[in-house]
């Protein structure tokens, strides 16, 4: 059945035998070894692995922020060589432009593309509303809380209407309560404005709550250990039987791989 699905629609993201080696004075360090991955349109894929395992590097290569040592990434048949508005990235450190207001940050991409002021503010407003930041349009990032900053980051990436969204541990720096809230928010946003998403996390609950498919990665050098298709109905319940069962299964996979 899976084969048929893949035949019907060509995958949006295709990673083919990606490798990455960092050259350091102390010798070469292999970070990523032969990762091949296809992501379908509007699929929510979570890359799940322990800290420092190279999953961020992997995501950065899809984004074009880092170059692969070997192998290729194509998104919608276009080979990725540098970052561009085709792939929206939400950074772990948010990386908002501190001198721009919420509105300024969200409309930045449209401004660079030369969209007229009225038009781009209308479109930016739509995404500011979507992430629930009405009333904070003229606030600078220093005045926003961690969760709100990340909402701006999501709106900013969404606003350029990219084909794929890449999220790099976006909720890693948030406290547990805000984190749950943001996970629910992200799901709601994704349900309202569907996109192909690749999401990196080291939190198993977060992965299970959000993912259509979880890719379990091994520690350095990073490679795919196992894939899990998650077809639980949404919105999911963190404490349902199936949820906990899957959680145990993934836990077991990680423990056996390390």
């Amino acid at each position: 059945m899976q084969m048929e699905q893949r035949k019907k629609i060509e995958p949006v993201i295709q990673c083919d035998n990606l490798c990455k080696t960092f050259r350091t004075p102390g010798g070469d360090q292999e970070v990523i070894r032969n990762i091949s991955l296809d992501v379908q349109e509007n699929e929510f894929v979570v890359l799940f692995g322990p800290g420092q395992c190279g999953k961020t590097t992997f995501l950065n290569m899809i984004a074009g922020l880092e170059k692969s040592t070997a192998g290729t990434v194509t998104v919608s048949r276009k080979c990725v060589t540098e970052p561009g508005p085709q792939r929206g990235v939400v950074f772990q450190s948010v990386a908002l432009f501190p001198w721009l207001t919420t509105m300024g940050n969200v409309e930045y991409g449209l401004k660079m593309a030369g969209v007229k002021k009225e038009e781009r503010q209308k479109r930016a407003q739509k995404y500011i509303d979507l992430v629930g930041l009405q009333g904070f349009e003229n606030t600078f990032p220093v005045e926003l809380s961690g969760g709100m900053k990340q909402r701006v980051g999501i709106a900013r990436a969404y606003c350029i209407e990219p084909e794929v969204m890449l999220l790099d541990e976006p909720f890693g720096a948030l406290d547990a309560q805000t984190r749950y809230l943001m996970q629910e928010e992200l799901e709601r946003i994704w349900q309202t404005a569907k996109r192909t998403v690749v999401f990196v996390t080291n939190n198993i609950e977060e992965a299970l709550y959000l993912a259509d498919r979880i890719i379990v990665l091994s520690p350095c050098p990073c490679s795919i250990v196992k894939e899990f298709e998650i077809d639980l109905p949404r919105p999911r319940n963190y404490t349902s039987q199936e949820f906990l069962h899957l959680r145990k299964e993934i836990d077991a996979t990680i423990n056996s791989s390390t």
Binding site: G64, P85, F91
Partner: protein, 260 residues
């Protein structure tokens, strides 16, 4: 660090300044010191008098302040503008950086004051020589900071801008420039004090008016009161210049306030 000043602090401040003035006054009236320097009352009187009458070199105090300010601001604006352009260019383009760095390394360690004699040889004794010195004084500080600012832009911000579709020149104008503003302002502050010092030195060496001229003629005429009036004016104007710069920074770098 900036806590609200309590009335206690104000009182202590006033008491200590007042005590200092009192000590000065008493010292002048009872001891040998009185022959050397005038007391605070004499100085205050002279300051007030020079504000309204043309008692110093045929000008009022305001005219002297005006001359010094005109020189300093002309040179400062020119030098800072040049410094921002050169510094940002050095931070952005490695060829420009490699080309200018050695020249900069040569010029920077020479204090602007040491350029006074050669500036007189080149430009004579007038306005131009002084402006040239101020340009030098502000240029070096501003360039250094703009350069460091442009070099230290968070690479992730540049990555984010690229991701959002900004071209190379757009990244320069919308990311590198605003990101360097706090650093540039730090440079502008230092440049302001350095320019103020330099203009005084230049006026002291060769001039026919201005605050520097005022204190140095005070010395040649053995007029201690005039020197002290000059020093007071120099302190007040210098303080105002720095305060204005700080206020401008507060307004322009509102987004950066949490980090300082």
């Amino acid at each position: 660090m900036k806590k609200k000043k309590t009335p206690e602090v104000w009182i202590c401040g006033i008491v200590s300044v007042f005590a200092f003035l009192l000590l000065w006054q008493i010292g002048c009236s009872v001891s040998e010191l009185g022959k050397m320097i005038p007391g605070p009352i004499t100085v205050t009187g002279a300051v007030l008098k020079s504000m309204v009458s043309r008692s110093i070199g045929g000008h009022t105090l305001w005219i002297h302040i005006g001359y010094s300010l005109l020189r300093v601001l002309t040179g400062y604006i020119l030098g800072s503008a040049l410094g921002v352009v050169v510094g940002l260019a050095m931070g952005w383009n490695r060829v420009v950086e490699a080309f200018i760095t050695p020249i900069f390394r040569l010029i920077r360690p020479i204090p602007p004051i040491a350029w006074i004699p050669i500036s007189i040889l080149w430009f004579g004794l007038g306005f131009q020589a002084k402006v040239f010195l101020i340009v030098l004084a502000s240029f070096c500080n501003v360039t250094l900071n703009a350069w460091a600012g442009a070099k230290s832009v968070d690479p992730q911000l540049i990555g984010a801008a690229k991701m959002l579709g900004a071209s190379k020149s757009q990244i320069f104008f919308t990311i590198v420039m605003p990101a360097s503003v706090p650093q540039i302002f730090a440079g502008l502050q230092v440049a302001m004090s350095s320019s103020w010092t330099t203009v005084l030195a230049a006026e002291m060496v060769r001039s026919t008016e201005g605050l520097g001229w005022m204190i140095v003629t005070g010395q040649t005429n053995l007029d201690m009161t005039q020197i002290l009036v000059g020093i007071v004016a120099i302190g007040v104007v210098g303080f105002i210049l720095v305060a204005v710069m700080r206020r401008m920074e507060d307004i322009l770098c509102r987004w950066n306030k949490g980090k300082r």
